[in-house]
Symmetry: D2
């Protein structure tokens, strides 16, 4: 059993990591930290964990964590991993960071996050863990930077089309919708029940920090420079992201049938246990992947306008956060990729 700790265990991504690690066949969950609730059992803060995980929450302490655990998950607000990740790496621990600090080059980070980026040395070490497109790099990594929720859904949906030259990467419009857990457990009027319920809105239009993450890694994995309009919307529900992406078909694909693109995607994702490419005419729904690490993708060639339309869905807390982190852990350790993640969606 490999000893794993979760830092920031009382946030939603953190507690989801706890849920998954608590039942992982190869893992022993040895420590959970929370600065706000240190000293209390996690099952008092989250009574649903009673009998499952009754560890006492600790304040963050790099030495103590390095002693207790072989691998550390960081589930922290933006800016904090910049300090914690290097401290743990220097103590020789493997790190999987669920935050945004190490996902994009420093100059982009500074521009979009309005914060100082982490030291270049560690930024370079961090492997961007979009598992399906980075298995080999992750397999050899000691430090994985886990992708953001919107980028995960978007990149899994678009990389095959960009890489194969199906769409013009300068023409992409990405209209994304997320459940409210994506905003975390921190109190704000934007997550206040009465404001969100029976409501739908766009937010951070044109300035969302996931925009450069999408563009940058479309470039890395797709092999072409991309420029995207990205708009985030808030859906009055808890879990799930659905991304609707639109791109202009390249001339050689103008007369393609939807089935051709479905076929391409199926080949690309043939060995991926968590990606399901749906047949032409069938569209995925967020509920169909709820509680799991799955990403479902639907496709259409719209001849009338010369566009490809891609719809991809994930559970933002699983494939968009803690689940993909566990998937990366599995790849790093050489375990089966779906260890601890093989779950049937909770429907309805």
């Amino acid at each position: 059993m490999v000893r794993v700790a979760v830092v920031g265990a009382t946030g939603y991504a953190g507690v989801e990591a706890v849920r998954l690690l608590a039942r992982h066949p190869e893992v022993s969950l040895v420590a959970v930290t929370s600065d706000s609730y240190a000293g209390r059992p996690i099952s008092e803060v989250y009574p649903h964990l009673r009998g499952w995980v009754d560890l006492v929450l600790e304040a963050y302490d790099a030495d103590r964590l390095a002693e207790a655990a072989e691998v550390v998950f960081l589930a922290l607000p933006a800016g904090l991993s910049t300090e914690c990740a290097p401290a743990l790496r220097e103590r020789g621990r493997k790190v999987i960071d669920l935050g945004g600090d190490f996902r994009i080059p420093g100059n982009l980070y500074r521009e979009w996050y309005k914060k100082d980026p982490p030291p270049a040395r560690w930024q370079e070490e961090a492997v961007y863990g979009l598992t399906e497109w980075a298995r080999e790099a992750v397999a050899g990594a000691d430090f994985v930077s886990n992708p953001g929720c919107y980028p995960t859904a978007t990149l899994l949906g678009l990389v095959p089309a960009v890489r194969a030259g199906v769409v013009d990467p300068g023409s992409l419009v990405i209209d994304a919708k997320s459940g409210v857990t994506g905003a975390g457990r921190g109190l704000s009027l934007g997550s206040h029940f009465s404001e969100v319920y029976e409501n739908f809105k766009a937010y951070k239009v044109g300035v969302h920090q996931h925009t450069p993450e999408i563009e940058y890694h479309l470039g890395v994995f797709g092999g072409r420079e991309a420029r995207v309009s990205f708009t985030a919307h808030l859906v009055p529900m808890n879990r799930g992201i659905l991304v609707t992406a639109y791109g202009n078909l390249m001339p050689e694909w103008r007369n393609a049938a939807t089935e051709d693109v479905v076929q391409l995607y199926r080949e690309v994702y043939a060995g991926a246990p968590f990606v399901r490419v749906r047949p032409a005419g069938e569209w995925p729904q967020t509920k169909e992947v709820r509680g799991t690490n799955l990403c479902d993708i639907g496709l259409a060639v719209e001849g009338r306008t010369g566009r490809l339309i891609v719809v991809s869905v994930i559970d933002n807390l699983v494939k968009g956060a803690a689940g993909q982190a566990v998937q990366n852990l599995n790849v790093m350790m050489g375990w089966p990729e779906d260890a601890g993640l093989a779950a049937v969606p909770l429907y309805p």
Copy 2:
């Protein structure tokens, strides 16, 4: 008092018309029809109406309606107005049709609705009642075809930009999201609570019958031929449509500021009592117009991609159906445009 009847009064658009007409200062609601519930008081089918409207539902009968009412609202499933509207017009009654039969030319109707279009004579008489863009025509009309819910939100949001040459009308992507009341009161798995709750999905991708209505009337009101990708999504809530539209800026607007476009829209809608153009940086939410005939519009020029982003919201049952129908009635009769419609949104 003008005598008004509602045909199809037990559907959601119909019963919303009943709600609005019941309190309209110039209107006497004289008849309500429903084939399924004929013979029962409407307040038995909809107990919230007890004490407000206790009329007995009647089966549809053109002669009886023509006798009872001066104006007839039709709130019927697609295909039925094709027969009812001409019958009532032939009997000399004014008609406001909330359905889709008379909104687009016959050839488009046949192609997208897979039904025979209504007779050309009546199609020509019907005035497309997007009130803000058709006030004069509506003022002189005896027969108004009320716009669809998605087209209302989309056209109010895009016509100013297309008409003024701000965006390329061939580049438009329209990503639309609607609450479930838009699907009506007819039972289907797609409106079954357990399937919709905690779920988000796209539907009718590439084949939604509102697509030609949007393209055609963008052409009419915007003065340029438009070609749009239109995708509808279902939001797990009851009322509200939010449309996010993306268009490539024309060269002369590439360096415009968001404020310039806001200014343009404010001038265009200066006399419109129901359109609120929000200041730059502020984005409308569906809840902010709930229960009212308002349409709120937010705008951004995205310099990075050269696009205009437009977000518009309405209450699909009010401005997207029964409210706009009453607004058209007001214009037809020469009453104040907001008679019976002056309501503060129900928030939260």
Copy 3:
């Protein structure tokens, strides 16, 4: 036009009062206060009000309010009216207090609210404004203490049965369920969207501060000492309270039919414009009164157990707060009881 001010206008009860007063035919809304947002237009804090109410929020100032307004609505957290109400009364202004400070005798207040009660002089002046049972007292009052949301639904449902000796007032079980707006706009984990959505819970079991308010006024209006178990529950929705109350039938009513009790209630509420007693076998739903000042009541005599079951529903922000306050204003001023309140429920 009577000049009215709302103190605490940015809480949910306050902004609902603003919504109702903005359209009241006899009222001019002259001032709105908020300590958190003073200096900003209320329509910036609540954009749904743009064009309807654009008053600038002021900090609370008794002198200024007494100058500006003839009647002041107080919509404040518990404990604050204790100071504000006397200050305004001393300046000769009529006051309608939506808070809990003046609803129950000082000793009960101290016991259940764990706060010092207001001075006896003002407590005695305050008329408990359960309008249907206190019309005369309200008509002559200068200071009305508006009932709590749960007590309103409970008392309207139970007073007739207690008063007529239908049920044993010592046997009452009151199981109450409320939408989340009842918890107000203040941020807390208990109102955080992700915690509430897809969740149902009981709260403050056995210690809810509305318990003594119910018992005390059942005694006053029902004429018999009551002892109740009261349990509050949180429904994952915004507006609406449903109370299910159970009481043992007194011997002389053991063989009564449900219709007999319905008849009794209909007689009792014959002149009440906002109470609808539903026929035997029909049960009210919260949605059927949404957005209105209505209270709907359903009844059943359960012969098998010898109990009366009463279900009553209200919109907690309207009849349970701001609407009943306006109703009391109407009665105080001698206006029609439904002035500014005649609205058809927003359904669905």
Copy 4:
């Protein structure tokens, strides 16, 4: 591996059984039936199952099922098990019936279900599988009648108190609230999204068919004749039942502390892997057991009224249906009671 079939696999209880059995370590799911969808893969009807369960749905055929499976789960509407269960038993197969036909004596069934009860021979064979109170009987059974969802939550919450003489079994008021999945997948206005959303209602007041099931088995397990008022309510969410039960304390328990009752319950449920008795002052929420077979119980002695208040929560599709059925299967087969059921609740 034991071969198991699910009859009625496309209803919500059926598909939940499929979800659990698909991952059960001792089970091989060999057949799924559905009369409406026979001939189609279940993963076409429920795309979330793609890759997990791709069995083709069959029409019900007792011979074929008896050949294919050793154990058959029946998840059918009321009345159908009356025929299917005997047919399968006659063919020597073990049966676990999730429906209501075999839960109560024939005379009660006839009275409350308004249907002919099943033959006495089979009714006598059926063991009522409230596992925690019937482990031994279930262990030796070939035919288990799985309890209803409301009775499961109610009985687990009340049997200890009735059995130990804490409360008067003639005084019980049971106020129950359920998510919408309890109403199944069959279309009806009562489960239509727009009717249920932002709504709360009571239903089947005084006539719910779970009433006699509760009374009868309170008698069996509690050892005293019970008489209950039972009211069901519909919560606008999918999964979860919360029952609030009230009973008058017997004289010898009048002065007990809540902790005393908590202690009693903890002893009673000491060996039960799925029951969590919460400490005094802590109340369970439906979300805290979601997706699992857990039942959480909260307790309070209300000295002021002399009542015991019990709040119990379950996931209606798991412990209230398919999960308890699997638990019974485990006990019947001598497997660990939590085989295939050990899951951390999906939170939030």
